[in-house]
Symmetry: C2
Subunit: 278 residues, 2 copies
């Protein structure tokens, strides 16, 4: 398998793992989001992942992946996961997949990559926190309308992501050497059994360790903190208690999507290292 | 989506549909075959599907798809489905996807395609019936050792498949204008809701209509006939009765895999036509 294949498979294993409380998984759909839309998203994203593998700019590859995902899934299924996967695929296609080299891939992005990133928002609805007060013109929710302000300030993709790193743990991964991603990969590698089942266990551990930033954005920081505490309390619980927690979050429409994104990225790292690249 | 994408998605939707009695599906694993191996098989098969799309020989594309599938899934997950999908992808990539044109794609295969087909058996274990008495030297279970006999007789892939069409309904599809495949596609198109759920209903109807030839090969024609009758009796039953039937077949290790293969091919046709090619 090539890095693009591994990334696609990581997306598929991620959604197949169950229970992943609050997320669509092998056993659960959301009212307006079906398991199979994630399968379609993984298929649609592939050309963008393949572009990253063959050396296309990170931003352009990401926009292509998001565009393909949104067309196939007919909604936003894996935006954050792709934002993590694209630079990781690019890194893996050019040499060893290490935190330092992944960070360098992000650091080497340009203003053009940032413009691509803004264009990607045109394809989907993404829940985002308000930007810092001095960065309103750069609010990603503006899509391509933010590009002139971006060019004026000469911000690279890495710099734009740094603006969001406080409120979005996907952005924090990208500007922080993918710390939780590589920890997730190590956690997956320490477990045994099918990758999708390992990933569900790793998801639970990630959720117990840090409040999910998508939950914080959509339901407020108190809810995110409460979800984290519940996950920590249930970490060593039997399966039925975990399943009940999963059912509860789905019924309350609480979706720890950032944790799922990091799980998918961790799966990619584990799959890639499992294929022989260390 | 390109035809190769649609074929990959058909493989994913097929395994996601549940209940599909006797098959791995979203809700069921077999003891030695996990749901995620089908996800991996669909990822691994992609390069062969892409080869078919870009005009590579049907046989060579099929061998590449099977090789990639087997490497990723570490077993045989979708051999029969790929044998149907490769000529369908090739047909769709060159013009309208009609039974006549699909049949022509098969008819145009050569002795080289047949040799590729035999090589594909080297990658996996496939359950096959004994060949006709005068075709023992061409037994596909011989893998590449059968190629000299094949060349001596000058048989094309279409001719080799015709030898197996009595005992294998995948081969029968290929040499018979994909009749059940296109019927399955029409059945899927008539239903509503997620494709994977439609496909599970279509699978049930296919299983009720004709005895599964993989079950006949692995458990004998009486068992295959009994499974077909049970499916027919349960066709309009409530979900719990269908689920119980699915559990029973899995526990008896009865796998109507040919019916699943035709379901996947029907999904491909439906997805492709849904994208605007009629």
């Amino acid at each position: 398998m090539t890095p693009a294949d591994e990334a696609q498979l990581a997306l598929l294993y991620e959604v197949a793992g169950t229970p992943k409380p609050g997320n669509v998984d092998r056993a659960r759909d959301h009212e307006d989001l079906h398991f199979e839309q994630f399968l379609a998203g993984a298929v649609g994203a592939r050309s963008g992942l393949a572009a990253a593998e063959s050396g296309e700019r990170v931003g352009a590859s990401f926009e292509e992946a998001v565009s393909g995902m949104a067309a196939a899934a007919r909604t936003n299924t894996q935006f954050g996961a792709l934002l993590l996967l694209v630079p990781l695929v690019r890194t893996a296609s050019e040499g060893p997949l290490t935190p330092e080299r992944a960070r360098r891939t992000v650091d080497e992005t340009t203003v053009e990559d940032a413009a691509d990133f803004y264009r990607a928002f045109e394809h989907v609805d993404v829940a985002l926190d308000d930007p810092p007060a001095d960065a309103d013109a750069l609010d990603a929710r503006r899509g391509r309308d933010a590009i002139p302000a971006l060019r004026k300030r000469g911000l690279t993709l890495a710099e734009v992501l740094a603006l969001g790193a406080d409120s979005d743990d996907v952005a924090a991964e990208l500007v922080g050497e993918f710390e939780r991603t590589f920890r997730a990969a190590a956690d997956i590698e320490e477990r045994s059994g099918p990758y999708s089942e390992r990933a569900a266990a790793t998801f639970f551990r990630l959720l117990a360790a840090e409040a999910d930033t998508l939950v914080a954005t959509t339901h407020g920081p108190e809810v995110a903190a409460a979800v984290r505490r519940r996950a920590a309390d249930l970490l060593d619980a039997e399966a039925p208690a975990k399943e009940a927690f999963a059912d509860e979050l789905v019924s309350r429409d609480i979706n720890p999507g950032t944790t799922a994104d990091i799980t998918a990225a961790g799966l990619f790292v584990a799959l890639h290292r499992g294929e022989g690249d260390d």
